[in-house]
Amino acid sequence: MARSFGRRQFLKGMMAGSAVTVGLPFLEVFLNAQGTALASGAPIPTRFGTWFWGLGMNERIFVPRQTGANYDLPEEIAALAPVRDQVNIFTNFNATTDGRPNLCHYTGWVVLRCGAVPLDRTDLPGQSVDVTIADAIGRGTPFRCLDVNATGDARDTYSFRGRNGYNVPETSPASLYRQIFGPRFQDPNSDVFVADPRIIAEKSVLSGIIDESAKLNASLGYEDRIRLDQYFTGLRDMENQLAHFLEKPEPLPACVKPPEIVEEYPKGVDYSLVAKRHELMTDLLVMAVACNQTRVFNMTYANSFANTVKPGYDKGHHTITHEEIEDPVLGYQVMSSWFNRRAMESWASFVKKFADFPEGDGSLLDNMVIYAHSDQNYAKIHSISGIPMFTAGKAGGRLKTGIHIDGGQTPGTRLPFTLQRVMGIELDAWGVGANRATSDIGEILV
């Protein structure tokens, strides 16, 4: 029966997750080699983000010919020119199905996010890397993780804690603004700080209600007890968040509360609408990081079945990848590539906004790493070997950038494995079966 089948996977995921341990204490991990510090003397933390786009690439116009530094930019990634030296591109890395079915637009990203192959579309056999990292470094800020998307669809996220355990993305710029910069936001550069008595009261009431709820002894089964425990963990998170708002924040000269966003955008995935939402939410994420509201974030540009549309063209991107014939002269799907190029423009602008934001002696991007990937290599045939991946940022001096790495068909999980270790997660290996990574991608390590 589907029910017991799926729950089996949930337990497996839990067991796989228990192998993960957290490494060095925060302050030691995040002092970079040069000891760059903020004006206050506090060390600059290293942040982690993800960026996802659906439907892969047209390999012959996406993969640079040259490996190493100063790689060329074929036409489908030409938009990366202004940020090429901040970005690594990873090609010819492998994700395998390990004898399980290739679930179209699903297996590939699940492997690259949690290291294991799902059995079916309800299966999430582990937790995503951002969750592991957020649990390790995210508690020092009001938001352990910010999950956002540019599609406007609350189902579009690639952040999860196991089966049925997707995180919940913010889907509108106005709502994201209210969350981060609403009335509870404490300006770190304000001369005066007074703990808001309303937040004190709110926190006190929440604590009391949690304690009362915990006394109840419901007749729950094993899995429902786990779910109830999750609920209390979530409420304790809220309590911690309120506690953050009651502390005087460290001064952060670069942090400026952005102008309020109130406009609600219409629903739909018209490419220009997606780009607009993406731009506004990127601006908010940049400032959320600069204002130390979060150290971990996820941005979904388009989902894995991306049906991004171009007005007047009767098919969406996903349908196009299957039905469009390759241009006999150019040798690729022209319209499909048009959509991939829009994705790469948004990816480049995402990187550039962090790169242009000064922090310490460098930029915000210098003190972070963003992990970007898709769900397919060539969407037309659902190939998952060689799914394109990127990183951006130097992770506080731990990573080199501006390099093209050919993975030589080694597991793609080596990249999230490497990035977790860079972020201080103590791991000797990561992933399951043929997708198990045991070696770093040394070419990018300082």
């Binding site: 919940v168 709110e202 006190s204 009431v205 007749s219 998170d237 809220m238 007047g312």
Partner: protein
């Protein structure tokens, strides 16, 4: 309350309501029920909104979209019993609770929501706070607050009121906290000893009240149903009959049907439905919401007001029309009325659920129709027949059309039948969807596609049709149509997926459904009064859950 007094009340109530209903209840005909494990399900958006509206007023704004859950055997309601409660999910419920509490405690509403006036509005008032907290807490938690809860909440409200110098602020924080409590957000089956079977357990009375109320009203129990649970009325069959009769005759039954059909027909997908404005300029931003509402109104009128045969939903010409829908249906509509009753004329080519703009546009692409998606919608949502997923290595070269010679969807899709890997699934879906090809991706009527006359003929499991009208007749006559409805409705009511052990009772419900001429309120009554509806086994222990690994 002791068992003796419960029994006394039960006897008195049984005598008071008479025995006619009891004799009419054909208990012997129901097969032995299959008991599923108790569940804890996340309150749905509809249940949340209906509960808040009942307690605090219809005009309180609640969020239109909740954190998504997976669809399990066709229903989000079953996914809500399995979904993990990630920090992000809990944060949303905390956020929603604050939004509701802010509205409830804003003047002037608080003056009539709080049943007493504080002695000093700038300070704590324990007696008044207790009155509000115990009254509202009982309705939110679907049970009386424990003494410890009541004492703590009153104390917390008092401390906040004193520190902020505002009595209502204290209540606002406590209300916000209660709305974030798992006692409100998780609808949890609780067990009690079964006096009729020593050593066995059954749903306690409050849990039975909740099960009835969420099934028949898509909302938490009202004051009277909670009293019935507390007084022992729900311990007797007669007491349950009385309450079920009351609930089914209430206008709130419509909420239940709206909630159920919105779930079964995937209405959550309207949240993100948009059409290409260049291709379908009539399908503006307000259309998808109205298209969903049109179907829900049509369904509830047919099934409740007209007490209609469920199967006639696929052929009836009665519906509603709004101004924005008029543009898509190409009709003039009185702009004064948001929705007005409307009858599809013969020449429209429309009748029944499948020819509504909502169904047609939901199961289409943003810029064109999709016979495959429409066929899949009929198979999966209405006939409970899962359609296999496409294989990953499809060779699309057969379908490429460089010269643009395929004018119609049928010409494009007929190519699928030439490839065995595709044909196996597409022959399940496409013939149904091709019957609806006289409607484009927005649901607008068309006789031709790219200049070619559309052929909308086909057959559904052996019954031939030609166009939407006769396709509706074919769905109506398909035995899976009613079997599917019964299965989905019962699973929805007990909040768990069906097992093969449920088959006998489902067959029983199906026969009774037929006996009543496929009247859904009668079926809901039958389900609510069945032994199977309240049957519940022991929770699954860790050992058993782990054992199922092997």
């Amino acid at each position: 309350m002791g068992a003796g007094s419960k029994l006394t009340i039960a006897v008195v109530v049984a005598a008071a309501i008479g025995v006619a209903g009891y004799l009419g209840y054909q208990r012997t005909a129901e097969p032995a029920p299959h008991a599923g494990p108790p569940t804890a399900r996340i309150i749905t958006q509809g249940q949340y909104a209906n509960t808040i509206a009942y307690i605090f007023g219809e005009d309180i704004q609640t969020p239109p979209q909740f954190p998504p859950v997976s669809r399990v055997e066709g229903l989000l309601a079953l996914g809500a019993a399995e979904a993990s409660l990630t920090p992000g999910v809990v944060e949303r419920f905390y956020r929603y609770g604050k939004q509701v509490a802010d509205q409830v405690m804003a003047p002037p509403r608080r003056a009539y929501v709080v049943p007493c006036g504080p002695a000093d509005p700038g300070a704590a008032d324990a007696a008044c706070a207790r009155q509000f907290i115990t009254t509202v807490g009982r309705l939110l938690y679907r049970r009386a607050l424990t003494d410890s809860e009541a004492d703590t909440y009153v104390r917390l409200a008092g401390e906040s009121a004193d520190s902020l110098g505002d009595f209502h602020e204290g209540l606002r924080f406590v209300l916000s906290g209660m709305l974030a409590s798992p006692s409100f957000v998780l609808i949890t089956d609780r067990l009690a000893d079964d006096p009729g079977a020593p050593g066995a357990a059954r749903l306690d009375a409050y849990s039975r009240a909740s099960r009835l109320s969420f099934f028949l009203w898509n909302s938490a129990p009202d004051e009277r149903l909670l009293r019935a649970a507390e007084s022992g009325v729900l311990d007797s069959r007669e007491g349950v009959e009385t309450e079920v009769a009351r609930m089914i005759s209430s206008p709130r039954l419509r909420h239940a049907l709206r909630g159920f059909f919105a779930d079964m027909l995937h209405f959550d997908e309207f949240e993100n439905l948009a059409k290409d404005n260049l291709i379908y300029p009539a399908y503006g931003p307000g259309v998808s919401g109205d298209a969903a509402e049109q179907m829900l109104r049509m369904i509830t009128r047919h099934l409740v007001e007209e007490q209609g045969d469920y199967r006639d939903l696929f052929t009836t010409t009665h519906t509603y029309m709004s101004q924005s829908l008029g543009a898509v249906y190409q009709l003039p509509v009185n702009p004064e009325n948001a929705f007005v009753p409307y009858e599809f004329p013969d020449h429209s080519g429309r009748a029944g659920l499948l020819s509504h703009v909502g169904f047609l546009s939901l199961h289409s692409h943003p810029g064109r129709s999709s016979p495959t998606r429409r066929g899949e919608g009929v198979r999966e949502s209405l006939l409970c027949q899962p359609v296999p997923l496409p294989p990953p290595n499809v060779d699309f070269s057969n379908f490429e059309d460089p010269a643009g010679e395929f004018k119609t969807a049928r010409e494009r899709l007929v190519r699928h039948s030439s490839d065995a890997a595709c044909a196996n699934c597409h022959r399940i879906t496409d013939p149904i969807g091709l019957g609806l090809e006289n409607f484009d991706g927005a649901g607008q009527y068309r006789a031709r596609e790219n200049g070619a006359l559309i052929d909308a003929s086909g057959d559904l499991d052996g019954i031939p049709f030609d166009g939407a009208l006769s396709l509706g007749e074919a769905v109506k006559k398909n035995p899976a149509t009613t079997a599917c409805l019964v299965e989905r409705l019962f699973a929805y009511g007990v909040s768990r997926p069906m097992d093969k052990e449920d088959r006998p009772v489902l067959d029983y419900f199906e026969r009774r459904f037929a006996d009543t001429g496929y009247r859904i309120p009668a079926l809901m009554r039958r389900i609510a009064l069945s032994e199977a509806f309240f049957a519940v086994g022991q929770p699954v222990a860790a050992e058993a859950a782990t054992a199922s690994l092997h």
